[in-house]
């Protein structure tokens, strides 16, 4: 079992009074000797203090909300007031561009979002063979049921104990894509794509490029699609060439 999870459970048993006298005594002895366990226990106590004071938590929440609102308002107003003419001109230009795009461009050039949707394949065949823990079984079951958020919680848990498992990292990144958390997906996929020994490297490159496209980092996406298109034995070579054509990059 992941050591951190083990500590967490141990602390929970102790705090909830679920240990008998001897177990509690052993726990306290271990607390003196095991620095990691002690740190975990201290964190749990500090957290308990911080969030059990619901009065101050509620007040702080209101203050933070007001500060954030004020910051947004100030930034927008400062921008408009500092450049009134440029702002008005920019607004007119944006309106014109939007109108022209709607009339002429949309039918011919698909948006990045539409391209992403037409090339992204959510049906991932399960190819994990390494490891057979219950967490992994549960994660895969949830993944196949398309319960991506919950599946990803299990994948994250497994990665904590086995950070080099690129298969799990890959499926976790698919979960992030499915739940529209593209930044996290990019972090995972980049890590796999940089590992020359990973069996998931080529798939990761493809999905990484699609993620960049989805968040409108088109230049990065095109670079990666070109890299894939130049690789004659890449699983996604044909797709990369097609998408580059649609992006008018060939």
């Amino acid at each position: 079992m992941n050591e951190k999870v083990h500590y967490s459970l141990l602390i929970e048993h102790y705090i909830n009074g679920e240990m008998d006298e001897e177990q509690a005594r052993n726990f306290l002895l271990r607390l003196k000797e095991d620095k990691d366990l002690a740190a975990e226990y201290k964190f749990e106590q500090d957290l308990s203090v911080a969030i059990s004071d619901e009065d101050t938590l509620e007040l702080r929440k209101k203050l933070i909300k007001m500060m954030q609102e004020s910051k947004t308002k100030t930034t927008v107003l400062r921008y408009i007031y500092s450049r009134p003419y440029q702002y008005a001109a920019a607004a007119v230009i944006i309106l014109l561009i939007s109108a022209v795009s709607l009339v002429f461009l949309m039918p011919h050039k698909p948006s990045n979002e539409r391209l992403f949707s037409s090339y992204y394949n959510s049906e991932q065949p399960i190819r994990i063979t390494r490891g057979s823990g219950t967490d992994l079984m549960e994660a895969l079951r949830l993944f196949q049921n398309k319960e991506y958020q919950q599946a990803n919680d299990y994948f994250s848990l497994i990665l904590q104990g086995d950070p080099n498992n690129s298969a799990v990292r890959f499926y976790s990144s698919i979960c992030f894509i499915e739940t529209s958390q593209y930044d996290q997906a990019i972090t995972h996929l980049s890590q796999i794509a940089q590992n020359p020994n990973s069996l998931y490297r080529k798939s990761a490159e493809w999905y990484l490029a699609l993620c960049y496209l989805r968040i409108n980092q088109t230049e990065k996406a095109v670079d990666l699609f070109r890299h894939i298109a130049d690789d004659h034995i890449h699983d996604y070579q044909k797709d990369a060439i097609r998408i580059l054509q649609e992006l008018n990059q060939i």
């Binding site: 007040l59 702080r60 209101k62 007001m66």
Partner: protein
């Protein structure tokens, strides 16, 4: 905009009345921000100090430990000023050169002792990061801290199994921990432990 008397402000604060809190923010935050900026602080420092000041005043009113002998305006400025003093001292900057922009009162020794300490700072950082978590994680961790049975938490949160509830709680806690560890303000108390 509505105007509140100092008594109304204190009553509204204790009720955590949103209108009154907004009034306090609109009336006083800019002064504190100017004061902090005038004394080598950033906008983020001002937000931090203002939060601390309002919470300290709230706790004092809640615990019936405040006898306001000056205007609320002077008091909140004095508390904020004092907090900033202590932060400067902690960072070995001489607060003797502090520049004031409002009237202030010197706070009593007893009050000064309570205004700012490490526990308060730690709780603030924990709370700020806790509030930045998703609603789901916040609710889950709060239920756990209240020692509500797992099976009940599972039902409240609409999860399918007790095991998943435990896993989710662990991950939420890890997310929170990561945020706190990465906060430069945490380094002081993390190193001290």
């Amino acid at each position: 905009m509505l105007h509140y008397s100092d008594d109304e402000v204190l009553v509204g604060l204790i009720r955590k009345d949103e209108k009154v809190i907004r009034y306090i923010f609109n009336e006083h935050f800019n002064t504190i921000k100017r004061f902090i900026a005038h004394n080598n602080g950033t906008h983020e420092d001002a937000e931090d100090v203002f939060q601390d000041a309002v919470l300290i005043i709230y706790e004092k009113v809640r615990d019936k430990d405040l006898n306001l002998e000056c205007s609320f305006k002077t008091f909140i400025y004095s508390v904020s000023r004092h907090i900033w003093f202590q932060k400067l001292e902690k960072n070995r900057i001489n607060p003797a050169n502090i520049g004031d922009i409002e009237n202030f009162i010197e706070l009593s020794d007893e009050m000064m002792y309570e205004v700012y300490d490490e526990d308060r700072e730690r709780t603030k950082i924990f709370q700020q990061h806790f509030l930045a978590l998703g609603q789901d994680c916040q609710k889950l961790l709060q239920l756990f801290m209240k020692k509500i049975p797992l099976s009940e938490i599972m039902k409240i949160m609409g999860y399918k199994s007790v095991k998943y509830t435990k896993t989710r709680k662990f991950l939420c806690k890890e997310r929170l921990k990561k945020r706190i560890i990465n906060d430069p303000r945490s380094q002081n108390f993390l190193i001290n432990e």
